[in-house]
């Protein structure tokens, strides 16, 4: 219960930081803490599989994507070019996150161990991970996903598809529209000539 309140406070505080931070990188750091703390929260609910997925997918993959986007979009923009003292500023919170994430995870795991009285025969503090019949276990999760909740699971595939196609459409095709193949050939020839002319100079 104490673990829950601590982790809950971290979740809320880091979420507030994510929103209020002035630099986007700090927001990402706040989000990372948030995700790690959420994972700890899942652990305390003995949803081990969800916790691991949270770490791998969100903290691992999605946040890296965020960082890439921020780095690509704002390279050369003011907040990144503030002189020699900018590195420590970024490193300090980075160290802090790792520490907090680790502490959060450990606290979460311990909390889970306290909350789940059943200790597996092998003596693992996590309980019988993956065996059927345990709430939040991989087996139950998978079974629910592919039987009871198959329809929602399949609909998420459509949602991802919409997102992909939507982004491609919004980003737009920059080439001029050509109605016929003859027109296409002409546009291509003009483009090639333009490139050749440029090469002569």
């Amino acid at each position: 219960m104490i673990a829950f309140w601590i982790v809950g406070a971290i979740v809320v505080a880091s979420a507030v930081w994510t929103v209020t931070a002035r630099k986007p990188v700090y927001s990402v750091v706040g989000l990372l803490i948030n995700f790690a703390a959420l994972a700890a929260l899942y652990l305390s609910l003995s949803a081990e599989f969800l916790a691991v997925i949270q770490i791998i997918v969100y903290s691992g993959a999605i946040l890296i994507l965020f960082l890439f986007v921020i780095a690509l979009l704002s390279s050369g923009v003011a907040p990144f070019a503030q002189g020699p003292n900018r590195l420590p500023r970024i490193v300090v919170p980075a160290v802090a996150i790792v520490a907090v994430a680790l502490v959060g995870l450990v606290a979460g795991i311990n909390g889970a161990a306290i909350l789940t009285p059943s200790v597996s025969p092998s003596g693992s503090p996590l309980g019988p991970v993956g065996s059927a019949g345990v709430f939040g276990s991989v087996a139950d999760f998978g079974k629910a996903l592919f039987t009871t909740h198959l329809l929602p699971f399949e609909v998420t595939a459509l949602i991802l598809m919409v997102a992909v196609i939507g982004v491609v459409m919004l980003a737009g095709d920059q080439t001029p529209y050509v109605g016929s193949s003859k027109q296409a050939a002409r546009v291509e020839r003009q483009a090639r000539e333009a490139i050749l002319r440029g090469g002569d100079r």
Partner: protein
């Protein structure tokens, strides 16, 4: 352990949705393989074929009540009716897209529209919280992209505004669902009807948040501010689609919750804020309409009020009320799509039909279009010879019957206010203009838009002569 718990009946239940999804993949494929050869009419034709297939498949399920996927999706009369409304909205908007769309993006646009309709149809039959949420997100996500699909600043702004505000509303909805799940221990709507929930504070908080989310999606008044801006910025066919399909899908979810997923005796308390908000919407929406100079904004405010009318019909929670609500919704679908079709028919590249100025002297240039527009405006206003009038009379009768006469009174007051706004459009078309600015005829031939106008006209007129929705729309669950 049974590895495949689903039979043919389960898969047949979602057949209309699958048909739409397949059609959109075919559109994308055709766009990829035969880009220059396939004109925009080709993409739209595939989309329309898919829509027709979905409509037929949905119609075949009429009356077969079956809870597919462990109660995730329920077929039957109610679902069929709402699926057909979505199909009509989709077909109408696709036809408008063929007239007005950007040929470069037509493949993706049509595909997104079809997928969005998958979401809307999913909402029509959704009987568990997860299906509701995912259907809503599928529809909304497609709409965010569709709103920004034109190279106009307003369009991007519209898309972003819709994305941010609608995501916030989805957050409310999801919080509400989490609390409802916490209270009932089940994601099934049917389990929310258990009487012991009435004493659970989680249930009350959860349903409050849930209803806030729905009220946003229906653009009821405290949560309506996004609608005019988003409608104005979005491309005209998207606005037409959004104004009908989102409302229909959200109303389907709302009706299912109201009629089938509330503990006995709680409905009048849980839903009271919704009725109050619906009453305010009828007044505020119609007042907001008075100041508009843009047809899309005008119809957005009109839509805010119309949702209020439809909710008035449901207020008593009677079976008759639901039938009248569906009747009015179908009539609204036709008259709203018709108005948008007229706007498309006189639009050029810059969507001139969206501005009220373009209607000046339309009666001289295009007497038939002007007559059709007049008819649609009269129907939206609820004037006597139209289905809109009949719908309002039916709603008034049922609201008086079920003890919500005050909502009926607000409906009459709202209608009176709205007359002026609708008359403004009609006046612009018929009165000779003093400041003789020549409005050029932008589009001499727009056959698809004219066909849509005609079909919508026939729809509204047919509704006048067939005033009752079939009675076996109920039951909603199981």
């Amino acid at each position: 352990m049974i590895l495949n718990p689903f039979g043919t009946a389960d898969w047949m239940a979602i057949a209309p949705i699958v048909a739409l999804a397949i059609a959109s993949l075919l559109v994308l494929l055709a766009d990829l393989v035969a880009r220059p050869a396939i004109s925009r009419y080709g993409a739209v034709a595939i989309g329309l074929l898919g829509t027709a297939a979905a409509a037929v498949l949905a119609a075949m399920q009429y009356g077969h009540v079956y809870a597919a996927f462990f109660g995730g999706f329920v077929t039957g009369g109610f679902t069929t009716v709402f699926e057909e409304i979505v199909a009509i909205a989709l077909a109408g908007s696709l036809a408008l897209y063929a007239t007005l769309g950007d040929p470069k993006r037509i493949g993706g646009t049509v595909a997104l529209m079809l997928w969005g309709s998958c979401g809307a149809m999913l909402m029509a039959g959704a009987a568990n919280l997860m299906t509701i949420f995912l259907g809503l997100e599928l529809l909304s996500l497609a709409l965010y992209c569709l709103c920004g699909m034109v190279d106009r600043r307003g369009a991007r702004e519209s898309a972003l505004k819709y994305l941010i505000l609608s995501s916030t509303a989805s957050g409310f909805l999801l919080f509400g669902m989490a609390l409802l799940f916490g209270a009932s221990g089940s994601v099934l709507l049917a389990d929310l009807a258990r009487p012991q929930l009435a004493a659970n504070p989680l249930f009350w908080m959860g349903s409050g948040l849930f209803l806030i989310g729905l009220a946003f999606k229906m653009s009821l008044v405290p949560f309506h501010a996004w609608a005019p801006d988003v409608y104005e910025g979005a491309p005209l066919p998207v606005t037409a689609y959004m104004s009908v399909a989102t409302k229909a899908a959200t109303l389907a979810v709302f009706a299912r919750v109201l009629y089938a997923a509330l503990p006995a005796g709680t409905a009048s308390h849980v839903m009271l804020p919704v009725w109050i908000v619906a009453g305010i919407s009828m007044i505020a929406g119609n007042v907001g309409m008075l100041a508009q100079h843009d047809l899309k904004r005008l119809l957005a405010y009109s839509g805010i009020a119309q949702v209020g009318y439809i909710l008035t019909a449901m207020a008593g929670g009677s079976a008759l009320g639901l039938r009248y609500a569906i009747y009015y919704l179908v009539a609204y679908t036709f008259m709203n799509l018709g108005a948008f079709a007229v706007a498309t028919a006189i639009s050029g590249e810059h969507e001139e039909g969206a501005r009220l100025v373009s209607y000046a002297g339309l009666a001289r240039r295009r007497p038939w279009l002007a007559a059709a527009m007049t008819f649609f405006m009269l129907a939206l206003a609820g004037m006597p010879p139209t289905a809109g009038f009949l719908g309002k009379i039916l709603i008034l009768a049922t609201s008086a019957d079920s003890g919500y006469a005050w909502l009926g009174g607000l409906l009459v007051a709202g209608t009176a206010i709205s007359l002026y706004a609708y008359a403004k459009v009609v006046r612009a078309m018929y009165l000779p203009q003093s400041g003789d600015h020549h409005v050029a005829d932008l589009r001499p031939i727009a056959p698809l838009a004219w066909i849509s106008v005609t079909l919508c006209l026939i729809g509204v007129i047919a509704m006048t002569f067939y005033p009752l929705t079939p009675s076996n729309v109920l039951p909603l669950l199981r």
